[in-house]
Symmetry: C2
Subunit: 204 residues, 2 copies
């Protein structure tokens, strides 16, 4: 929600004021979002915000099944094709959901019973990445790192419980290399932030 | 201004909601902030947000005179010592003002008449950089790219009139190389934004 707070005509400068939740738009979930005592946005270090990134694509499967999740098999298939996930990486899911973002109903996938339907990371994949690859974060091109139909938020709880952060509502993941990009997570360090808006830029 | 919008105890997750002006904290001034018809935050391209940076230090002079500004002589002295300012650079002023940021009165430098006093870029320096070096932006470790005592905002008007952006309230400029760093300007692309919060990270 925004309002105009100044105009060039009346004030000499144009500016807006926003009322905004820390989890709107492209944003970070800090460990404190789901884990009591977890680190807040300003406690994430710059060295954690500049990381290698890999993109695991499940768009073909997700187009047929809105409840599709990234599995351990997807990760193994990714590594056979694109090489091992580097240390300290952001592991990003590309589901193709970004194409729906201008239609909130389609993006949320709410059914008659009120359950959401969009892809995310399965609990097993999250646990495997934490155990076998030294990941920095998980990121998705959907509303949540858990699939929309999750009622228990297992991936959020496991990831933030391991002091890692999540990235949600990412855009343009089909335009960066599957393995080899570096991302800069421009997280606004909101005081006591449970996360917050972040501009994420990739170079390669 | 912030309020708690959810707690782990009551909601299963912790989050906050903010009421925030686009020009609070470390932020970008988009061309639209001071120039009618100028580009807004989402219209700045990713390629404009990843740039070489140089740091022009005036902290010794600013410690004696809060109205000190970056001059053309400062730029020439910088280039003699650190080499030519690269194309498409962010030219950043280090005044030492970051040390005052936890004391708003000292940071603003308001005098008895209500005039502010802190360093900025002089109009001549801004014009010289636009004419003789292909700069991308100007940045400062103070509240404004114009010095605090400016009533006419010449540097804002010239810079945004030239379709370039400003960076204000930058931190830690004494910790990056004078010439040779690359900065990532993580600008939140607020709809119709006159600028907005930005996390700025440097690598070198």
């Amino acid at each position: 929600m925004r309002r105009t707070a100044g105009t060039i005509e009346n004030d000499g400068y144009y500016e807006q004021e926003w009322r905004i939740n820390e989890h709107a738009g492209t944003h970070v979930d800090a460990p404190a979002h789901f884990t009591a005592g977890g680190r807040t946005a300003p406690e994430l270090q710059p060295s954690e915000l500049v990381t290698p990134a890999v993109v695991i694509g499940i768009a073909v499967r997700a187009a047929r099944n809105s409840d599709a999740v990234v599995t351990v098999d997807d990760i193994r298939a990714f590594e056979r094709q694109y090489g091992r996930i580097p240390d300290d990486a952001a592991v990003l899911m590309y589901s193709g959901w970004g194409a729906k973002v201008s239609d909130p109903d389609a993006y949320r996938g709410t059914d008659a019973a009120g359950t959401l339907h969009f892809p995310g990371f399965g609990q097993d994949a999250c646990e495997w990445l934490l155990r076998h690859r030294r990941i920095r974060s998980l990121g998705v091109d959907t509303l949540s790192i858990d699939p929309g139909n999750s009622a228990t938020f297992d991936t959020h709880l496991i990831l933030t419980g391991a002091d890692r952060y999540g990235l949600e509502n990412l855009a343009n993941l089909d335009r960066i290399p599957r393995n080899g990009a570096t991302i800069f997570v421009g997280l606004i360090p909101y005081e006591r932030g449970s996360g917050g808006q972040a501009r994420v830029l990739a170079t390669w």
